[in-house]
C-alpha cells in the first residue's frame, strides 16, 4: 500500500483541456503514489485517454499543472523520465514499417540501453512470450496480426525495458477472457514484484478488481470518485454505482 507521506509520482492539479468548443477535462485532480496501481474508469469519450496524454505532455492543458515527483512537467528531465517509462496506446500504435520484434525492441537498440541486434531480438522474444505470443510472430509485420495480437505487441513494447512508470490504455480490450486474465496478472505482477507505478484505463471490471490499488472514475470532465478498490462496492456515489454495475438507467445518460 502506498505511503501517504510520500510525494506523488504523478499529480494532476486542476487540469483543463478543451478541443475547440468541446470541453473534455474541466479541472481534474489526481494523485498517483510511487508503486501504486491506479485504474481510471469512466464512460466512453469522457477523456480518459486525454488525461494520460496530458500527464505525458503529449497534449498541453490550457490550465492546471502536471507534476512528476513534485516537479512541474516543464522542469522535468524528460529524457530521464521517458527512459524509465512505457506506454500502451489504445490503438496499439505499432510502427507498421517495422516487424514485431523491431517494434518491441525499438528502445532497446537505442541509448541508453544500446543492446546488440541479437540481444535485443532475444529480449523482444522473451517479452512477447510474457504477453502470450510465440517466437513465430517476431518476424511478422503489425498489419499481419489480429487486433488483439497487435494490442499485446504494444504491451510487450511498453514493458520491454522494464520501466518503473507504465501507462496502459485499455490493455484487455479486444482480448478473449483467458488472454485478458493473463494480461491482468502480468500488470499486477509488474506492480507488486517490480514496484512499478501503473496507470491503467479500462472498461473491464475484472481488470479493475485484479489490477487496481486505487480507482478513479471520470465523469463530465471531473474526477467523480477516487478511492481504494476495496471501497468501490460499498461506495454510495450513484454515478459509480451505475457504472460498475453497468445499468442503463441512472444519473449517467446513455446518450452522450
Amino acid at each position: 500500500m502506498p505511503d501517504p507521506s510520500q510525494t506523488p509520482k504523478l499529480q494532476l492539479v486542476d487540469v483543463h483541456k478543451s478541443f475547440g468548443p468541446k470541453r473534455v477535462l474541466a479541472g481534474v485532480n489526481l494523485d498517483v503514489m510511487p508503486g501504486e496501481s491506479l485504474v481510471i474508469i469512466g464512460g466512453s469519450g469522457t477523456g480518459k485517454s486525454v488525461t494520460l496524454k496530458c500527464m505525458l505532455g503529449i497534449l498541453k492543458p490550457e490550465k492546471g499543472q502536471v507534476l512528476i515527483d513534485g516537479a512541474p512537467l516543464a522542469e522535468v528531465d524528460s529524457e530521464a523520465f521517458l527512459n524509465d517509462f512505457g506506454m500502451l496506446f489504445q490503438g496499439g500504435a505499432l510502427f507498421d514499417s517495422l516487424t514485431v520484434w523491431q517494434n518491441v525492441a525499438f528502445r532497446l537498440r537505442r541509448k541508453p540501453f544500446s543492446l546488440s541486434k541479437k540481444e535485443a531480438r532475444e529480449r523482444a522474444i522473451a517479452k512477447l512470450a510474457r504477453v502470450g505470443l510465440g517466437a513465430e510472430t517476431a518476424d511478422l509485420f503489425p498489419a499481419e496480426l489480429s487486433g488483439g495480437m497487435q494490442k499485446r505487441v504494444g504491451l510487450a513494447r511498453a514493458i520491454a525495458t522494464d520501466p518503473h512508470v507504465i501507462f496502459f490504455d485499455e490493455p484487455t480490450a479486444g482480448l478473449d477472457p483467458i488472454m485478458a486474465g493473463v494480461i491482468n496478472d502480468l500488470i499486477r505482477e509488474l506492480v507488486t514484484e517490480m514496484g512499478a507505478t501503473a496507470v491503467t484505463i479500462t472498461h473491464d471490471m475484472t481488470t479493475v478488481r485484479t489490477v487496481a490499488d486505487d480507482v478513479a472514475m471520470l465523469h463530465d470532465g471531473l474526477v467523480r470518485w477516487h478511492g481504494p478498490v476495496a471501497d468501490m462496492d460499498t461506495a454510495t456515489d450513484p454515478y459509480l454505482d451505475q457504472f460498475i454495475h453497468g445499468r442503463a438507467t441512472g444519473p449517467i445518460a446513455a446518450i452522450r
Binding site: I58, G91, A93, F95, R110
Partner: protein, 262 residues
C-alpha cells in the same frame, strides 16, 4: 445587405486570408528551423536516411527518366517545326540542351517527384499521426522530427540533384534520338553543338534548383503529414495539400532562382 456591410465583409475576408497566410508561413518557418536544428544535434539515424534515399532517389528514376526522355524528344520536334533544315542543325541541339538543363529538367523532375514523394511522405507521416505512432515515438524517447522528418528532408535535398543530373542527360538524349533518327542530323555535330552550349552556370543553376525543389517537396510532405487532421479524411487532405503546396512553391522558387542566375 447594404453596400457598406458588403465592402467591410469583403475587406475582412481579405484580411483573414492574409492573416491565415502569415500564420501558415510562420508555422512552416518554425517547423523548418526546428527540423534543421536536429541536423546539428546527435543522435543521427543514417539507416533512415539510407532508406529514404532509396525510395526518393532510386525508385523515382523511372518516372523522372521517362518524363525527361519524352520532353527532350518533343522539344526537338517543336524546334524543328519552327526553323528550316539548315538552321535546325544548330538550333535543335542548343535549344534542347539549354531548355532541358536550365528549366525543364529540374522543374519537371521536381514536379514529378513532388507528385510521387511529397504525397507519399504526407500520407505516411499523416497516418502515423492519426494512429498515434508519432506519440508513441515520443514516449519511446525518439524525437519524431529527428527520426522521421529530418531524414526525409535531407534525402530529398540530396536525391533531387542526382535525379536531375540523370534527367538532363536522358532529356538531351531524347532530343538526340529524334534529331539523328528522324531528322537525319549528323550525330557528331549534334553532340558537339550540345556540349558547346552547356556552360557552367547552366549546370550549377540546374543542380541548385534541383536541391531547392527537393528540399521544398520533402519539407511540404513532412509538414502536412505531421500536422495532419484526424482520420482518413485528415490524411487525404494532408496529401493533397502537400502536393499542391510543393508544386506551387517549386514553380515560384524556379522563377526566383532563374531571376537570380540569369
Amino acid at each position: 445587405m447594404n453596400l457598406a456591410t458588403f465592402v467591410i465583409g469583403f475587406l475582412a475576408s481579405i484580411g483573414r486570408s492574409v492573416l491565415a497566410l502569415l500564420t501558415a508561413t510562420g508555422r512552416v518557418a518554425l517547423f523548418t528551423l526546428e527540423t534543421l536544428s536536429h541536423a546539428v544535434r546527435p543522435p543521427y539515424y543514417p539507416g533512415e536516411f539510407g532508406k529514404q534515399m532509396l525510395t526518393i532517389g532510386y525508385f523515382s528514376l523511372p518516372v523522372v527518366g521517362m518524363t525527361a526522355l519524352f520532353t527532350g524528344a518533343a522539344l526537338a520536334l517543336q524546334i524543328k517545326a519552327g526553323g528550316g533544315q539548315v538552321a535546325s542543325e544548330q538550333l535543335v541541339p542548343s535549344v534542347v540542351a539549354i531548355g532541358i538543363v536550365r528549366e525543364l529538367g529540374p522543374v519537371l523532375a521536381g514536379l514529378m517527384v513532388a507528385g510521387r514523394i511529397s504525397s507519399a511522405i504526407a500520407a505516411e507521416i499523416g497516418t502515423m499521426r492519426v494512429t498515434e505512432q508519432i506519440d508513441a515515438l515520443t514516449t519511446l524517447s525518439t524525437d519524431p522530427l529527428k527520426y522521421l522528418v529530418l531524414p526525409r528532408v535531407l534525402a530529398s535535398l540530396v536525391a533531387l540533384p542526382l535525379l536531375v543530373a540523370v534527367a538532363n542527360v536522358i532529356g538531351i538524349m531524347g532530343g538526340y534520338l529524334i534529331a539523328v533518327g528522324t531528322f537525319g542530323f549528323n550525330p557528331g555535330a549534334y553532340i558537339k553543338n550540345t556540349l558547346d552550349y552547356i556552360d557552367t552556370v547552366s549546370v550549377v543553376s540546374s543542380l541548385v534548383k534541383a536541391g531547392t525543389f527537393g528540399f521544398i517537396l520533402g519539407l511540404m510532405g513532412c509538414y502536412h503529414g505531421y500536422n495532419s487532421g484526424r482520420g482518413a479524411l485528415g490524411v487525404g487532405q494532408a496529401t493533397t495539400n502537400a502536393v499542391v503546396s510543393s508544386s506551387i512553391l517549386i514553380l515560384a522558387a524556379n522563377y526566383a532562382l532563374t531571376q537570380a542566375f540569369f
